[in-house]
């Protein structure tokens, strides 16, 4: 073990490099994004499900929707309160949340997810605001 020093030096350099991003970003956490609701969404007060549920599980809702609409020809969603909704991303969700940039994108960018919904589905179908 004649090159003990070199080995320790190597390990130290490695650890410093690995830890660098943590030190570099220490105390600079980006604040969680604030999503903006359109006037219509505010007025409706409650989404298809509760706000908490939607924030956490909207992708599960959408996954169920696309599956039942395409595969089973079932297009109506009845929420726990018994209210009915047409299962359509463009015509139901994005009709109310017509501000994709301030609503969808802010959170998705923060969480670094890039859903490709809008490659096909048209946002803001009625061009309100």
């Amino acid at each position: 073990m004649g090159n003990k020093k070199l080995v320790y030096l190597g390990i130290t350099i490695f650890l410093v490099i690995v830890a660098l991003p943590f030190w570099y970003n220490h105390g600079k956490a980006v604040p969680p994004p604030e999503v903006e609701l359109t006037a219509r969404a505010k007025e409706a007060k409650e989404c298809v499900r509760s706000k908490d549920y939607m924030a956490r599980d909207h992708m599960k809702v959408l996954d169920l929707w696309r599956h039942s609409v395409v595969r089973n020809a079932e297009r109506i969603y009845v929420n726990p309160q018994g209210k009915e909704f047409a299962m359509s991303l463009s015509n139901t969700c994005l009709d109310c949340h017509s501000n994709k940039a301030e609503f969808c994108d802010r959170c998705h960018n923060y969480a670094s997810v890039r859903p490709y919904c809008w490659d096909c589905h048209i946002d803001n179908p009625k061009e309100s605001n």
Binding site: R49, L64, W65, R66, S68, V70, R71, N72, A73, E74, R75, I76, Y77, V78, N79, P80, Q81, G82, A86, M87, S90, N91, Y116, D119, C120, H121, I122, P125, K126, E127
Partner: protein, 265 residues
């Protein structure tokens, strides 16, 4: 502690028995059920005015189509509401419904010295929504499937990986591939219907989205009675009546795909 094999087996047996007794099972089941909301569970259902059939079928009266001009309104109606792009390059063409000469539509049954009117009449061709669809068998991801409820051969664009096996399998050339992003080539976007993205296959969907809200397919609506649409397995339906009272043919019937589009000739 020393245990004989006999003792250990006894212990296993008793444990298995205990776990299977109803009170214990119920306790476990109850544990899993908690955590759900107190209000009713959400559920999905069909719309009240959705049209229902065992197998949708189309009957096309070729006698009522004299020239390509009679076909254009149907094609336009379909392509407009489904955001079908007009591609500048012929090889990239996307089509859901179009017209073909008789000898192309029915290559296996052209007659020698046949009626000239029929020979030159445009034949409307589209996805046949076969009862035994080869495209469905070819699809490796189940992106295209035969819907059990109504027999429509449908695409789930979310799952299409663009392998084009279905295009090779379809004997009718009913499928088109998006070689490019189609959005810039859509002349007039119908905002209620999605577009497609680059790299997916698309074709006629028998207007599944219209049937779900009680409307007939766009081509049937635009055809002014030249096309009839209905349930193939309802003996009282209009399509069955037409098939019964007219001589009808189907495209490439000998291949055994059982097309659901019938032609009165």
């Amino acid at each position: 502690m020393e245990r004989s094999r006999r003792e250990i087996l006894k212990l296993f047996g008793i444990t298995a028995l205990a776990l299977n007794t109803p009170p214990v099972l119920n306790a476990f089941a109850a544990e899993q059920e908690t955590g759900h909301g107190v209000e009713g569970e959400p559920y999905v259902k069909k719309g009240d005015d959705a049209l229902k059939a065992k197998q949708w079928a189309l009957v096309i009266d070729t006698k009522k189509f004299a020239s390509a001009d009679d076909v254009t309104p149907l094609v336009e109606a379909c392509h407009r509401i489904h955001n079908v792009p007009v591609m500048p390059i012929k090889n990239h063409e996307i089509k859901w419904i179009w017209s073909a000469p008789y000898h192309n539509a029915f290559p296996m049954s052209p007659m020698k010295f046949m009626d000239e009117k029929l020979e030159h009449a445009p034949v409307i061709v589209l996805c046949n929504h076969c009862e035994n669809p080869p495209c469905v068998r070819a699809c490796p991801t189940n992106a295209t499937f035969k819907r059990p409820g109504d027999g429509i051969v449908l695409m789930d664009f979310h799952r299409c990986i663009g392998c084009r096996f279905c295009m090779a399998a379809c004997p009718f050339g009913a499928r088109s591939f998006n070689y490019r992003n189609p959005r810039p080539f859509i002349t007039e976007t119908n905002k209620k219907f999605p577009t497609r993205s680059k790299g997916v296959v698309e074709k006629c969907n028998f207007c599944a989205e219209r049937l779900a809200v009680g409307q007939l397919p766009a081509c049937v609506e635009a055809s002014d009675g030249k096309l009839a649409f209905g349930d193939l397995y309802d003996p009282e339906s209009e399509v069955r009546e037409l098939i019964r009272s007219n001589y009808t043919i189907r495209r490439k019937q000998s291949l055994g795909t059982e097309p659901a589009v019938y032609y009165i000739v």
